[in-house]
Amino acid sequence: MSTTVEELLAVAPLPEAFTAKDLVTDQDIRWCPGCGDYSILKQVQTVLPELGLNREEIVFISGIGCSSRFPYYMETYGMHSIHGRATAVASGLKATRPELSVWIITGDGDSMSIGGNHFIHLLRRNFDVNILLFNNEIYGLTKGQYSPTSERGKITKSTPMGSVDHPFNPLALVMGADGTFVARSMDRDPIHLRTILRRANAHTGTSLVEIYQNCNVFNDGAFEVFTEKSSKTEETLMVENGQPLIFGAAKDKGIKLDGFTPRLVSLADHSADDLWIHDEKDRMKANMLTRFFDDPAKEEHFPRPFGVFYQEDRFTYETELNLQIETAIATKGKGNLDRLLSGGNVWEVK
């Protein structure tokens, strides 16, 4: 028998602390100047050294698209796989190497169009991985076609008369697939993004972070209303566990639950105690929160929530899989190859 992975890891050099700088590779970054991806890369590189991970145990796996170039810029283990399949590649890696810290980098097209199937199945299996979903509501790498998250009527190269597709609501899809950690952040709010990344890493199970990311070339300003100082406070709802849903520049607006119906209220005539208190463990409420998905141009509309919508502790696939192996060994004994080869029903020819 030759060297096994276990033996290899047993004699490997000891881990060392690392800094954000150690995570920078020697490759030139090929994203367009001004792309939101730069900020996300920066926040990831900033947060990772704080998490108590060993650098050699971090793996970034991506599919295809602009965002999927990400692993090339991270001095960790990485794989730039094929379109839509990062989730499937990561599943196999995590199933066999549960101790690794696995990060999936994907975009709206990669995860929800071509890779939709693996995406939902990874979520329901709840592998302990982190998915960073860069949502820019456009196909960037192929130069500007509409994506499954583009709004209806979007005029692009492939939809000169406007898209007739009804778009996905990504977090509603994730809730529908029984995701156990559901969060939203944005490229333009580094502090918020770093907080959410830390939370994602701390969660055991699939952590899904949708990141609103500006494509300044093909879909510039798609999220402007949520990210620009002038409108951000009115249009966004920063949810925090145990806190009432309050928003607005003067923190003068809130959301109240009237039975099963959320209502926009003014704090002028409502007390904060009457408001919807955010509870990350409440699946029903989280489902409703994901439905705060109005077009900000609409007259009466809910603000767009950011933060951790939902968090649930549920068994992970790899734990159960590896438990079955331990159980099988405990009950049947470690497999004996000669016994397997003979099969039990043998005869001898003399």
Binding site: S2, L9, P13, L14, Q27, Y72, T76, M79, N117, H118
Partner: protein
């Protein structure tokens, strides 16, 4: 009553009935008992794609053919000596398989007006009593009534009693061929461990069938086929799919690599997934993915992590995996891709056998994407061939295709299984670390042109791989024109280099030089071998070589081909190996093709050989 006993060197039985009649189980039981008795055996299960096709119809007929003998047996037999039919449709569908003068055992209940109508016999015609079967030895049994009588007072319902009727038939056939019933009793006790009443009923019916032979007043000739004079050793019975599964576990154990299977159910490959999932105590991780693409991509992830990664499928599933296979070629990670071929194209003939995916394995990817291909030739050979596929994948850091087919997957034969210690070692090719200040080069190569396997978790080996073209040695993305051409040729050379690490091609039978070489691959092995042995016995100048390594070919294959005036390539497809051989060696090889979802008979091959020698 006294019965005469005929001594025979071999016998072929075809069991046929509704797919719900328990035909496959009856055949399996007869096979195991016969193998344990010491005969050489070969089997061919043939069943409809539908789980429960309409009862009594021609479409619903399920068959199981077994040939066993006191000499070596290489095929499940061209035609049968005994045809056992549970209904009229089974007779109609299989009568042409019966040898002239052969025996028919027919279940009379299956020939009532309804069954005759369903089998599309003309109104008022019953082949059992209209004399149309006069050239055969016809033996009718009212199995249903006899079973009912046997289980009278057992307390079981009509339906449950009816379900044991295949045991009556099996018992009767055991009697004819003088086989012990004990092995089947043991099987029944295990299968119905939770229902002692069902065990008792089945055993009673089985014995009743056996005793019926002894006591019946009807003339019946028993047949004695003595144990085979096969090589001394310890044997077991094995089907191709379990042999494949065991081969994978063996490779995992011998290499020290944990086995990972990413798979999606598909006929006729699913049994490999089933078998492997039963062996978790060998550390085997099986993952039933959401689709074929997820299955192979998860295997690629597992391989990146240092597992012996495998994906199993059949033609349509392989088509879906194609892009990911290209990725594995680019990543240069070990991966075994198993294709248990079936009739195509598209959904094709899911339960029938074919060898029509060789071109798919050889060329079916975008870009220049060569990879090694190995094909198994008998059910037990699936073990050795898949073991070789694992060895090449690991030692040469490449995906490898393993080709089996429906005939091998479900067919069975006795196997003198090896000892674990006697299996060839499989050496891993891990990168273990890097000197301080040095940079790890993920695409640096060894003498095999294989790159090192650098698994996550080792400090200093952090690196990125992906589907974009790689720069030589560094593995960085490169769009450089010269580098691309260099890398395309390097990847091809790497696959060609495998030829230095595989055995030379040998002849299976026949002279080293002569008039005709029959060149086969895959599951046609037994039929070709049988036909060539017969042709040699008749003094014809013919030899047989069977190619197991289809890419790269063994280095001496061209030399062998040139030693004969003609090369005949029989294939269960429309001519695939023949094209590759013509292309590579520029010889006028001739194809001989059968595309009926059925294996060649040795008779067909023998006749063809005769016309060319």
């Amino acid at each position: 009553m006294e019965h005469t006993t005929l001594q025979a060197t071999d016998a072929t039985i075809l069991f046929a009935g509704d797919s719900g009649d328990g035909i496959q189980l009856t055949g399996d039981q007869f096979t195991t008992t016969t193998a344990l008795f010491g005969n050489d055996v070969s089997t061919f299960p043939n069943f409809p794609a539908e789980i429960r096709a309409p009862q009594g119809t021609l479409a619903g007929v399920s068959g199981f053919q077994i040939k066993f003998g006191s000499d070596e047996i290489h095929t499940p037999g061209d035609n049968c000596d005994l045809l056992v039919v549970m209904n009229a449709a089974a007779l109609k569908a299989n009568l042409k398989q019966l040898k002239p003068g052969g025996m028919i055992i027919a279940n009379t209940e299956g020939f009532d007006a309804k069954n005759l109508r369903l089998a599309k016999f003309p109104e008022g015609v019953n082949p059992l009593d209209d004399g149309s079967l006069h050239s055969f030895k016809l033996f009718t049994l009212d199995v249903t009534r006899l079973t009912k009588l046997t289980l009278e007072g057992s307390g079981l319902g009509t339906k449950e009693i009816d379900r044991t009727k295949n045991m009556f038939v099996l018992g009767f056939i055991y009697w004819i061929y003088n086989r012990p019933v004990e092995n089947t009793i043991k099987f029944l006790e295990q299968k119905f461990a939770k229902r002692p009443d069902i065990v008792e009923a089945n055993v009673k019916t089985l014995k009743a069938g056996y005793n019926y032979g002894d006591t019946t007043e009807t003339f019946m000739q028993r047949v004695q086929v003595n144990p085979a004079k096969i090589a001394p050793g310890v044997y077991r019975n094995i089907n191709g799919n379990p042999a494949t599964a065991i081969g994978l576990i063996a490779a995992s154990q011998k290499s020290g690599l944990p086995l990972y299977l990413g798979s999606y159910p598909i006929t006729p490959a699913s049994d490999i997934l089933h078998e492997l999932s039963r062996h978790k105590n060998f550390g085997v991780r099986t993952f039933q993915a959401e689709d074929e693409i997820g299955a192979i991509c998860s295997a690629i992830g597992a391989s990146f992590g240092g597992s012996l990664a495998v994906t199993t499928s059949s033609g349509p599933g392989i088509a879906l995996k194609t892009e990911a296979i290209g990725l594995a070629i680019m990543l240069e990670l070990p991966l075994v891709i198993i294709n248990v071929q079936r009739g195509g194209p598209s959904t094709g003939l899911p339960t029938k056998t074919e060898q029509a995916d060789l071109m798919q394995a050889m060329y079916g990817r975008n870009g220049e994407a060569p990879m090694p291909i190995i094909a198994a030739q008998t059910p037990s050979d699936c073990f050795y061939a898949v073991y070789e596929a694992c060895r090449i994948a690991v030692e040469h850091s490449t995906p490898v295709f393993f080709l089996s087919d429906g005939f091998l997957a479900n067919g069975a034969e006795p196997w003198m299984f090896p000892k674990a210690d006697d299996l060839k070692p499989i050496n891993t090719n891990f990168a273990t670390g890097i000197e301080q200040g040095q940079k790890f080069l993920p695409y640096q190569r060894d003498e095999k042109l294989a790159r090192k396997w650098a698994v996550p978790g080792i400090k200093g080996l952090e690196h990125r791989i992906g589907g974009l073209e790689k720069e030589h040695e560094t593995g960085n993305i490169s769009y450089d024109p010269d580098n691309h051409e260099f890398m395309v040729k390097l990847r091809a050379e790497k696959v060609e280099k495998v030829a230095d690490y595989i055995p030379l091609q040998s002849l299976d039978n026949g002279p080293e030089k002569g008039k005709l070489l029959v060149l086969g691959w895959g599951s046609t092995y037994g039929s070709i071998k049988t036909a060539v042995i017969r042709a040699l016995a008749e003094g014809l100048s013919v030899a047989h070589a069977h190619v197991r390594y289809l890419n790269p070919f063994p280095k001496n294959l061209g030399e062998i081909l040139n030693n004969y005036e003609y090369v005949l390539i029989p294939e269960m497809n429309n001519g695939q190996l023949v094209r590759i051989i013509r292309d590579k060696y520029l010889i006028a090889a001739e194809g001989f093709n059968k595309i009926k979802g059925m294996p060649f008979t040795s008779e067909e091959l023998f006749n063809k050989i005769k016309t060319l020698t």
